[in-house]
């Protein structure tokens, strides 16, 4: 059949196009990483960047000691953090949009960021060290999502609807807690710390925090990447998905668990960075189509590059550094409006 030939060729063409697209994205991400080593308050020439990189690999040459410190202790952890947070938030957002069957859902929908904020604020109030604050944030985020899941099981509504309802309740509750802690906190010291933490910033990232945040992120990313095609099935009506042989509730919980690891780890590494998880999956979908086998890898790479560039912007646009949460919100909010208008036209 000639028709069959045409369609099969067409499909093969699209797959080749996708492979090229992924290569292009990878090249762009690598370029963005290299570019980010060069951007910053302390000027490093590209040559100094290369020298600093080589110096740790045994190269004995004439290199500025400051350049080595800046490269390895400041810019590298920061760049890796931006890449990991961007990828995590975007992948979690893409997965959430699928499993909640709603394109306007972002990774905080079950209260992960609010729970993390509450955990962090409480730890700061108690005078905990930086590491403990991050641990408290991680646990707070995981606890809020677990509570949302457990409570919503008792609801008579459909699983997705009751989770979204209970999730927004959980967010309100945690935010009330954060407000209360801010209210009683010492305005000269503790309140400032809490406010800065909540802003979302990559200034304080170091190798230690990165090292142990990377573990939950790696687990979450691996689970979603391996199972990614199955997100497609969860975008179907529950009864329909079941008729295709899917254990809908179990599969959905697996994705929620993995996404929660991702977003909780992202929050405890960089604070509240909004809009990435909502925006990037939509941009990726426009390039790759709706199929999650392609969408998830594309979201990961685009999210990584996007957050990296936003962080470069945050640390270079003004003489002082801007909180990255502000930058992503300023970029993201108009995008959201555009998305709503586009949906109404469609």
């Amino acid at each position: 059949m000639p028709q069959e030939h045409v369609e099969i060729q067409n499909e093969a063409l699209q797959r080749r196009r996708y492979r090229l697209l992924m290569l292009g994205m990878l090249a762009f991400l690598i370029a963005a990483v290299l570019f980010s080593f060069w951007v910053g308050y302390y000027p490093l020439t590209p040559l100094q960047v290369v020298q600093a990189f080589l110096s740790r690999l045994g190269w004995r040459g004439d290199v500025l000691p400051q350049a080595v410190t800046i490269f390895w202790n400041i810019r590298l952890p920061r760049i890796l953090s931006a890449v990991l947070i961007g990828a995590s938030l975007s992948v979690a957002g893409a997965a959430y949009q699928g499993i909640f069957r709603n394109p306007l859902v972002s990774p905080d929908i079950l209260g992960v960021s609010s729970g993390a904020s509450l955990g962090a604020a409480f730890a700061i109030l108690c005078g905990a060290s930086n590491g403990t604050v991050q641990l408290a944030a991680f646990l707070g985020g995981v606890a809020a999502v677990s509570a949302s899941c457990l409570i919503s099981r008792r609801s008579a509504h459909s699983q997705t609807l009751s989770m979204i309802l209970v999730g927004s309740m959980m967010m309100a509750l945690c935010n009330a807690g954060v407000t209360m802690i801010k209210y009683i906190a010492d305005p000269n010291d503790v309140l400032q710390q809490i406010t800065f933490w909540l802003m979302g910033s990559l200034t304080k990232t170091d190798m230690d925090a990165l090292r142990w945040s990377a573990v939950p992120m790696a687990i979450g990313l691996a689970v979603i990447l391996l199972l990614r095609w199955r997100v497609n099935l969860l975008t179907l009506d529950e009864e329909e998905a079941r008729s295709l042989g899917i254990n809908v509730r179990r599969d959905r919980l697996v994705f929620i668990a993995a996404s929660t690891l991702l977003s909780a780890a992202a929050v405890c590494l960089g604070g509240l960075i909004g809009w990435v998880g909502l925006m990037i999956p939509h941009m990726a979908r426009a390039l790759t189509g709706a199929d999650y086998s392609r969408l998830i890898p594309a979201s990961a790479m685009m999210g990584a590059a996007y957050l990296l560039l936003m962080d470069d912007l945050a640390r270079s646009i003004l003489a002082m550094e801007l909180p990255i949460g502000v930058v992503t919100a300023v970029m993201g909010a108009p995008f959201f409006v555009w998305l709503i208008i586009k949906r109404r036209e469609a």
């Binding site: 990614r228 009864e239 709706a290």
Partner: protein, 267 residues
């Protein structure tokens, strides 16, 4: 028999909606479910597909009792072709069709070229190959139904359940779809479909299950079941079943609701 229902009961909350339904259908059968709104057709479908647990009786497909099967095993026996299917994201038709392979995959699997070939073959069976790379969301109602039938073929189930396939289609598309259904039956599938038009079984069905309030009014061949008495019993309004000839002289049954003011004896 491929599909056997024995005294099937089920419902929501306190009351049973389906109150003891028995029927059977084999390969090549088109079983039409007929009855007024709320007679339990949809509930019976949910029982068949295992999304609602049985409260009594049993359902056997290919000799296997469905209540003992996992969703995955059940998906290898019976496929669902929903009436409304509006995906949230704009998948291509091929994406949608290949989802039918899900029950054949282990959790970490994704569609491979074998599965894509199966999807192309299934689309070809319903003459919809040209739609393969189109966006599913941009298709008409009839084309969407074809894509979903292809997905069911891909699932390699033997029994297809179609929920009111004519509901969202215009007359011509409905006729086209019924030709596809007849073709599926001829290929050995068993198709169970619900319908609102009583003459539908006479033209396409090989068996009819007429229901009212969760009970069976009649089960058998359309000629035996679609009678004025049975229809009046089920729908509560007087109806005539008339045999007409089309332009080629083929005899066909047509159901007509009788209008009270037309009665001659009132003059």
């Amino acid at each position: 028999m491929l599909l056997e229902l024995q005294d099937v009961r089920g419902g929501y909350g306190g009351a049973d909606v389906v109150k003891g339904v028995s029927c059977r259908a084999g390969r090549g059968d088109i079983l039409c479910l007929l009855g007024p709104n709320g007679c339990g057709k949809t509930t019976l479908f949910r029982l068949l597909l295992g999304s609602l647990p049985l409260r009594g009786g049993r359902i056997r497909i290919d000799g296997r009792e469905t209540s003992r099967l996992t969703p995955r095993e059940l998906a290898n026996l019976i496929a669902y072709i929903p009436q409304h299917h509006t995906p949230i994201f704009s998948y291509t038709v091929l994406d949608v069709v290949v989802m039918g392979r899900a029950a054949h995959f282990s959790p970490f699997d994704a569609p491979k070229s074998v599965d894509r070939e199966a999807a192309f073959a299934a689309l070809e069976k319903v003459n919809a190959l040209h739609l393969a790379n189109r966006k599913y969301t941009a298709l008409s109602g009839g084309q969407r139904q074809l894509a979903l039938i292809a997905r069911a073929i891909c699932q390699s189930a033997k029994v297809f359940v179609m929920d009111e396939p004519e509901a969202s289609l215009d007359y011509a598309n409905h006729q086209l779809l019924m030709e596809v259904v007849a073709d599926l039956a001829a290929k050995g599938y068993c198709v169970v479909l619900s319908t609102h038009s009583p003459e539908h079984p006479a033209s396409t069905g090989s068996k009819v299950l007429l229901m009212k309030e969760g009970c069976v009014v009649g089960f058998g061949s359309p000629g035996d079941i679609i009678t004025p008495e049975n229809l009046e019993l089920a729908y509560g309004i007087p109806m005539d079943v008339v045999t007409v000839r089309d332009r080629y002289g083929t005899e066909r049954s047509v159901c007509l609701p009788v209008k009270q003011q037309n009665r001659r004896d009132s003059i």
